[in-house]
Point group: D2
Chain length 346, copies 4
């Protein structure tokens, strides 16, 4: 295959620049065009020195490319993406614009009328491990949110197999880069450092995404998910702790149940390159910079409750890496191409 020309729309955000880093190692594509708000006309090396291997100028619009990543903010992305599609360019949209299937639901959560609802049905939800078929043939993929990636991967086997009661608690701990590069007091160093906080008590925009994907795996009963995201003082990483009661008669609560649940998870994700069911409790550091999601299902023996932990790097499996994984599927590359990097530990 001759080299595919790829563009990144809005390289100056954390996901955009991380896509560039990872593409550098991809043998089948070449990053040939980039845009970036507020930096038009500058060399990428000037704005993002760690990317100075790329001899590229930041432009207002992409040059002709074969494939594009849009890393624009939600609301802005949809219109740009549609323009690309109409010119025959396949797109992975990193924003939230095409994740929710229901335009009304989008409006409720994002307080915007959806700019292109006619594409919602077509857009594939880009959680590869659960949606490989549709992604492979899609021209538009909605890259999942960072929290949903960790939460859905952690819960999918249990939900699909009907192992748990519908009452689910998802308690996530995220590094600060998840809040993006836009300045705010919350992400001001002296405020975020040596601090833990929780936010979005009224409901986080990633909640409907989690529910949409899990519910379609098991339409009954209706899930009742509480999702509370926390901010912890580190740059990268999401640690998600999920809690739910085991349904009676499905899995026993004892040591044997633990083995059973672990095997069930291993079978579910058997053969996956980027989702690993681990035998010991994982840590976010084991995923730093890599496209891995580590999952640890276990049972609280005293209460018979299922606990599932997932760890990932919010900018890689929770963002740029997953975007490239989607691109690989869409373009017919092996899914792992360019994503072989191991975690940068410690």
């Amino acid at each position: 295959m001759s080299e595919v020309k790829v563009g990144i729309i809005n390289i100056t955000g954390y996901i955009g620049m991380e896509i560039a880093r990872l593409l550098r190692q991809h043998p089948g594509v070449k990053l040939t065009s980039i845009t970036g708000r507020g930096a038009v006309g500058k060399q990428v090396s000037e704005v993002l020195p760690h990317l100075d291997d790329f001899d590229l100028t930041i432009k207002a619009e992409l040059d002709q490319v074969d494939f594009a990543f849009s890393a624009l903010p939600h609301g802005e992305s949809a219109t740009t993406v549609v323009g690309m599609l109409e010119r025959g360019i396949k797109v992975v949209d990193v924003s939230a614009d095409f994740r929710l299937k229901d335009a009304a639901e989008f409006q409720r959560w994002y307080e915007l009328t959806h700019p292109a609802p006619q594409y919602l049905e077509e857009a594939a939800y880009g959680l590869v491990e659960l949606n490989r078929g549709k992604i492979a043939s899609a021209r538009l993929v909605a890259n999942p949110g960072c929290f949903p990636t960790g939460a859905i991967l952690a819960l999918a086997p249990a939900v699909r197999e009907g192992l748990i009661e519908p009452d689910i608690i998802v308690d996530s701990k995220s590094g600060v880069s998840g809040a993006g590069r836009t300045l705010s007091l919350t992400t001001h160093y002296a405020e975020a450092n040596e601090n833990v906080s929780a936010y979005a008590f009224e409901g986080h925009r990633h909640l409907p995404e989690i529910v949409q994907e899990l519910q379609q795996m098991a339409p009954e009963p209706a899930l009742s998910v509480t999702f509370l995201p926390h901010l912890v003082p580190m740059t990268r990483g999401i640690f998600t702790s999920c809690y739910a009661k085991l349904r009676e008669g499905k899995i026993a609560g004892g040591e044997g149940g633990r083995e059973k649940i672990s095997k069930l998870y291993r079978d579910f994700y058997g053969g996956e390159a980027f989702v690993k069911v681990v035998a010991a409790p994982p840590q976010t550091k084991q995923t730093r910079g890599s496209n891995r999601c580590l999952i640890y299902p276990t049972i609280d023996l005293r209460t018979g409750r299922l606990i599932v932990i997932s760890c990932l790097d919010n900018l890689v499996k929770g963002g740029a890496g997953q975007a490239i994984q989607n691109m690989n599927l869409m373009l017919g590359f092996s899914e792992e191409t360019g994503l072989e990097g191991l975690a940068v530990y410690p």
Copy 2:
């Protein structure tokens, strides 16, 4: 009152040294004697330079004092504490040795035969806001664990009033100083930094403490608590997120329910100097270095679930500060004496 002579057994741990820091500001007592494993014979200024205002030599045993804090590890503390009591010295024991009322339960969790079970009944559990009467007249107070302090204070109003179902999730995020000063790979900087992990999946020793104290407030029904502690990369602070279903017919799930629950919590802790029910989500940084526990109860409107957040500094309200608060009660000082310091923010 003439100045009370106070001693600290094992000043070289984090709780021990923090007691010294706080005592410095106490007008009614004077730190006159200290011990510390591995540093006997040294000046405190040499071993702990930030305490060089104290002109004290670290000894193998305490000199004659009127009151003592034991900051020895569990198992070791009990015997030393009993020796103090027998000499007529009141003690706050910071270790876990006298927290659990049941010697068999102690043995199960700590894998030790209790060295002084005859004192278990007498020892007061030192969570002042819930046990003020017994503490005031006690000669031995078991200072609560750092996690139980946050969890029990967060849940006590809801449990006592019977507002919630017995299925409770307690998800705590702790700074690394909570693991103490003993070296381990887990607390090695390069491992703990930029990392989140969970531990004690088999049950943390603070769990029986949480259950013991909550259950006695509401003997029925039996509580089913899952407690999962997490390690986050900061030095001080515990952020605890509690989740439980509201019992039907007690509190409505809507906005009105939120106000009701907040009022109920404010009433419960009305007049407390160190437990504040706050109107906006709190952060651990707001408690750094202070004896405050901040509590934020709310309702997840979508699921009708109660969420209660608590924040505290594990070394102060979760350790040394609470120990001094107990001492104040035991010696007849105003509870706030020496504990007036505001949070060191940012």
Copy 3:
């Protein structure tokens, strides 16, 4: 003395809020009025929850007070300060407006015409340990910059005694709160965390302050100071490393020289409550939250070069604490009043 009414102009910055925290422990004064840009009309507890002990509303202008701290940015502060002076109110100005004695020098470094040059001569430079007399009788004190506090205290004994050659390197490492609370990409968490950088290669505004104060102690020869500030990923603390050649014939370079220089420093700062010459290399953590500056002079035996280290908390001895130390002198309180807090370690 009846209680003195004190005001803080711009409490919403880090120095302003830290002054409030420390005043809380001061028995002789009472914080009665506060202003804060962008938060006028709000309760302090709403904007700065850790200060909720103060039942104060943030106003546009101070009410009648006996003493004021101005924590406005440079350029803005001078005019406000002059207004206070004219109403007979003594002021400690935390901004840079009255630090440099020469209006032209101010203009060169701050690119502003000085709004009140007639007060430059009168204003006392508020480094108490070196300027106690003038401060005690001043009605306007210019609180030193955080870097100059550490650098001048480290070098003053050597410069005054003529021990070193005029070629001096000052390499400072500052926590991020030193950059204030105004948002910037440099202080965005994900950028500042896990990162070290240097800045102000064209000359930092604290350089002329350092030179002004040191040079007046020893007019000859002209000092040639290179000052390079670095940003390190922590919230509070400045670690300053100073390097200079020992002048021949003054102090021998060997072990004996080390003892001599240490004694000379100890004598210089003998009796000071807040400047401690230490016998072992200090760490910023030993000063966190306290008004201490720790100084460690030594000699590089191989090269015969003097090395002096100083550590302080930029928001306390390098800011709010020093401001209160100045107020104490100006109002006739004991210098240590309200500043007794030990370092919050770890």
Copy 4:
């Protein structure tokens, strides 16, 4: 070329495990054997989960390999290395054992009689950019220390060209992983976090290495180097600030001098893949995880002093990456093979 079998001696230290991470991306070699103290008999995935792609058992001794990295501590490494050499295996020794050319100097600094002084002359000092020829033909390469890599690269152009006076200050700021994986109170999280300290005031073992390499570039005059390492609270990265007076008549001190010095540095390192002379002040974060050393030379216009900054990742260019760069040269691979990874930013 058929795949080269490579072994790592002591993979359980930070440099050892980082070599494994980087080798994973190397198309020409295969990691086939590993040893690790205290973990013999275990699978690498069990001990180092982020390396679970390697299906290798940790052994007491290496199996037959074509090339080896020794990541043993100094003193222990030499004997093992000699054994490898005698079996015809080329080695990069990451320890300090073969860095100093003079056995007496080794003894002075490391307080050990050198176990194999007969190899000191033969061993090539593995700073590729300055010693490429000797390394390419060596069978034993001594991988430079992390601090010397940054300091020597920063100063080499100035020293070789005789631009500076012999009085040189090297002030380095290192992340905590530089202290290795062995537990100590200094690297205990709660002690190292939110803290800056300096150490090795009696002389750091990397000092003679710096002097040895710089002095041989310009035998006269004798250099007088003060090197002070500092510990800053981050995991990876070294930021080195070098200060020296420009020699008269060589480079003018003004803006023109700056351009001249920058050009001279760019010419010196022209064509280097891993040493970049940058036009704006660099930051350690720009090198995280990559094999880059960024160098920024400038002139303090007020004093006419040269300032040179260097940034690198102590575990990559200051350790594992440089070791692989050396291996590439020794085995005839392109120097960049396997080292193409860009910095993981932020």
